[in-house]
Symmetry: C2
Subunit: 365 residues, 2 copies
């Protein structure tokens, strides 16, 4: 999903390069003559596209992948740098809109690098004829989300495309964050015995978008979980906890994120289905729509991977922040080096979880 440059604190010459690409793609898997919606899904099709076309072209000794942002040193500072374009449809949905999403999404990508968000950029691609009042609403939401996240939007760009060649508005936000410690937060830091902690219940963003798009009505309105997660990360780091990996559960959902981490860490991971919170409304909507909540996108929910013996401490730190008040342990990293993710079902049996294969729901973010 991400191209990543990862540097150890002060010795750029000793950077490690992940060999995951060759492991996950031993034979050419991107053979499509055209780009399909599934290539933007965050799942397997996107991984194939990136692994075969993007990563080799942009390869350099510091390029890695499958992380939410790049980390590198400038002077005496460690910075995180990340980018995301937002093409969500509809633009306005219960719990947020493309503006709040664009700010929170990039704030969260920085947070997942263990960084404190410092500054955001904002690039608008607006379709000719877009209502000025809607643009104003979007900008107001960005302003409010930035204030809540304690980050400033410092530079921007506005492009307008002719009618029929865009879709209302697309927004790119890129962000710079400051990593105030020498921790390495990365799938490569994951170890057997680590606990997988989840910050809240799954699937609200995806179902909110789908309901709005398809005009579905549920007993209770399902609101997106769109929210900033930097304070959850700060609580973990300020408590001095040895955080091994962080990941927000956007496109592809929990299952895809955990599978990515298994691939990149080299270890197997077991999740416990009965421990994974999904609200009754979301579960009902998923059953109705034939969706698996483990693959539905979230925009304010994350996992933290910490040593098993520190799990309770870490959960306490996470729960101290309102955005992660309902944090729970949902699984653990196994000693097996098979990169396999197993889901322990309520009946005691297990099934294998893989990445999202095609496209579950396009334009979710």
């Amino acid at each position: 999903m991400k191209i990543t440059k990862s540097a150890k604190p002060k010795s750029p010459a000793t950077l490690r390069v992940s060999a995951t690409m060759n492991v996950t793609c031993p034979v050419p898997l991107f053979t499509s003559p055209t780009i399909q919606l599934g290539h933007g899904s965050g799942g397997l099709m996107m991984h194939h596209l990136l692994a075969e076309m993007v990563f080799p072209a942009f390869a350099n000794p510091r390029l890695a992948q499958n992380h939410d942002g790049a980390v590198f040193s400038v002077g005496n500072s460690r910075l995180a740098f990340t980018t995301d374009s937002y093409v969500v449809k509809p633009l306005f949905f219960p719990g947020g809109n493309i503006g709040s999403l664009a700010v929170n999404g990039t704030v969260n990508d920085l947070a997942m690098c263990g960084a404190r968000p410092l500054a955001l950029s904002c690039g608008f691609i607006i379709e000719e004829g877009f209502p000025s009042a809607d643009l104003k609403r979007v900008i107001e939401s960005m302003k409010n989300a930035a204030r809540l996240a304690g980050v400033e939007i410092v530079t921007g760009d506005t492009k307008v495309v002719d009618r029929g060649h865009g879709d209302g508005i697309f927004i790119n936000t890129s962000g710079i964050g400051l990593i105030e410690g020498d921790w390495e937060i990365s799938p490569r830091a994951v170890e057997p015995g680590d606990a997988i902690l989840l910050s809240g219940d799954l699937g609200r963003h995806g179902i909110a978008i789908l309901a709005e798009r398809e005009g579905l009505e549920f007993e209770t309105t399902i609101e997106s979980d769109c929210q900033p997660l930097h304070e959850v990360v700060a609580a973990l780091l300020q408590a001095g906890l040895p955080v091994h990996c962080l990941r927000d559960l956007t496109r592809g959902g929990l299952a895809t994120a955990v599978k990515e981490i298994a691939n990149d860490s080299g270890y197997g991971i077991r999740l416990d289905e009965t421990a994974i919170p999904v609200s009754d409304t979301v579960r009902g909507a998923c059953e109705l729509l034939g969706l698996d909540p483990l693959y539905v996108a979230n925009e304010g929910t994350m996992i933290a991977i910490v040593p098993g013996e520190r799990a309770e401490e870490a959960l306490a730190a996470m729960r101290s922040v309102p955005e992660a008040a309902n944090s729970v342990k949902i699984g653990e990293v196994l000693p097996e080096t098979n990169r396999r993710v197993m889901l322990k079902l309520s009946l005691g049996t297990e099934r294998i979880l893989d990445m999202l294969a095609g496209e579950q729901l396009p334009r979710i973010c």
Copy 2:
């Protein structure tokens, strides 16, 4: 055109806030109920949109505008941060394509802040059905442009929108650069007596795009000037020249850039028409098409503003770099504080230059 955060080297508490917004927009000038192509032109309509909707919302004590990027300090380093989305149509044109443009454009925005480009992000918004072979060509061009500019693409994002809701591919690149000195390069540093130096002839990018789009043929193919300018800037700075302001002449062309600088510096500026180089082919095409080359976009041509008495030295430094081999002096900053740009014509008379008013040529970059 740009929202900018501008910081003095090591004392963020003493940041100056530009009051230009109130000066240029004393009364509401953005009253359009919908967004029009002209709002993306880089000219007056865009300035009104930004001044009345974007700048007030994102206002913070460090927010300024009308500069190519934000400048701020992190630890013991001064960084530049910039973003641009590229929506050029057609995607491939003589002298470049959307990929090389996306890398060079952002490299140049960093350079105009006096920064050495360090790292770029890359966000693709691809329309479903876009040929994979074209994506490959674009990525190869980005790779080559990044190598030539000595910059790494370190993080990225890929989104796919459904057929009919995009236009092939849009690319956002954001960039981080390192400012290796304590210079302040900004319209506010401009002083009366400063010389305006131009790095090459005008209008090649705009005319190349227009010719390709409209199927026009000239005796010689006009190629875009798309190229990186960071070495031109490095030559100026390494020569120890007191550079006051730098600007690449993209949307809105030379005239709009100079008018922006006049507005933000507070001073009048006089340009000498006979000194401004325009090739015969571009001039002929402009006459045919009813365009003014002073307003046509460039993607590898810049102005540098330096003290008048250092102009010859600065020209020598610029000419030492192939990308600016034909640099010339084209004007000067006047003592009058009327923010007016005058063009001295070949007949000896003068005319006022204002910003590009509407849209000369949409989707130029």
